[in-house]
Symmetry: C2
Subunit: 161 residues, 2 copies
DNA sequence: TTCGATCATTGACTTTCTCAACGGTATGGG
DNA sequence: CCCATACCGTTGAGAAAGTCAATGATCGAA
């Protein structure tokens, strides 16, 4: 009940602070590239803020999510799916390991690769974080109807890979 | 005509390399947050690559675009619209100024603020970059129909601000 | 066995982000 | 007019994120 930000009960079409909408008719606001970057900035910003009490960020959540999926992902697979450099995965897994949320297990089929699995504590952390993120997503998507959200998901899914 | 990457004439539903689609059914692929970040990563990556020959990146393009819009934006306004810290705007304007693409003009109404305008050369650079970016966007959106692109633009516009 | 490729890891480096401070300037109240 | 306060651009420092090359261990195939 605290969130004071945005969505004032009044001011129907007051987008953000004044001065911004002046450029909405411009060329940038038509470029999907730019809009995507803008949306992502707002989204991950809000998400990280909401996630802070849990001691992780969205980056780490994404790794934790894969670890908790039961799909036994290797670090390389994670990097590919998350579009992150292998070295970044190392750091992220390290930090989650420090939190006791995940564990590295050497793949018996290929001892070079390590499979990341969530611990008990990791599963609990994941569930909490998941709910927080669903709230955050809901807040970020504010004005969109359920139908529109589904549409957006579908469209993004097509271009994200 | 060199770009060998992606969009093979065949392979209708071959998303990226193999191993990735294994996680598509997972929980992350349902989160708009994640999809947005993924899409943005791909998009800006491709765009920066295409833009490299012109000596700028998407960050600088966005500033140049506003400067070339004729809307006489101040740096503060740019920062707000682009969701960038004022100090970053300074650096971006500096680099564009070094390229001779933009100029700082002190606002006569408020001598604290500086209005950024594109030079002749800046306008030419902007036009070239604009075309490159439209191509890049087209490539990134590959599989989307014109109708879907319009939808996506509309949806993103709603959540980007 | 040996050679080339792959995986995780490390390290160095660049870019981007975030924040605090400072000088110059505007604005409003006494 | 003078003053306090707030704002703009700028600088600087430090954290976070992204990029790239190299290495040891392991795999797969010749």
């Amino acid at each position: 009940m605290s969130t004071s930000t945005r969505r004032g009960a009044s001011a129907p079409d007051a987008l953000e602070d004044q001065g911004t909408e002046r450029f909405l008719a411009g060329e940038l606001a038509q470029q999907i590239q730019f809009l995507t970057a803008r949306a992502r900035g707002r989204g991950s910003g809000h998400a990280n803020h909401m996630l802070a009490p849990l001691g992780i960020k969205v980056r780490q959540y994404s790794v934790l999510s894969l670890a908790a999926s039961g799909l036994k992902p290797s670090q390389r697979e994670m990097g590919e799916f998350l579009a992150l450099d292998p070295s970044q995965i190392v750091a992220l897994v390290d930090s989650l390991e420090d939190l006791g949320a995940v564990q590295r297990e050497t793949d018996p089929r290929d001892r070079r690769s390590k499979i990341i699995v969530a611990t008990e504590a990791g599963m609990e952390l994941f569930e909490k974080a998941r709910e927080v993120l669903l709230e955050s997503e809901d807040a970020t998507l504010g004005t969109l109807s359920a139908r529109e959200r589904k549409q957006l998901r579908g469209l993004l899914l097509k271009i994200a890979f």
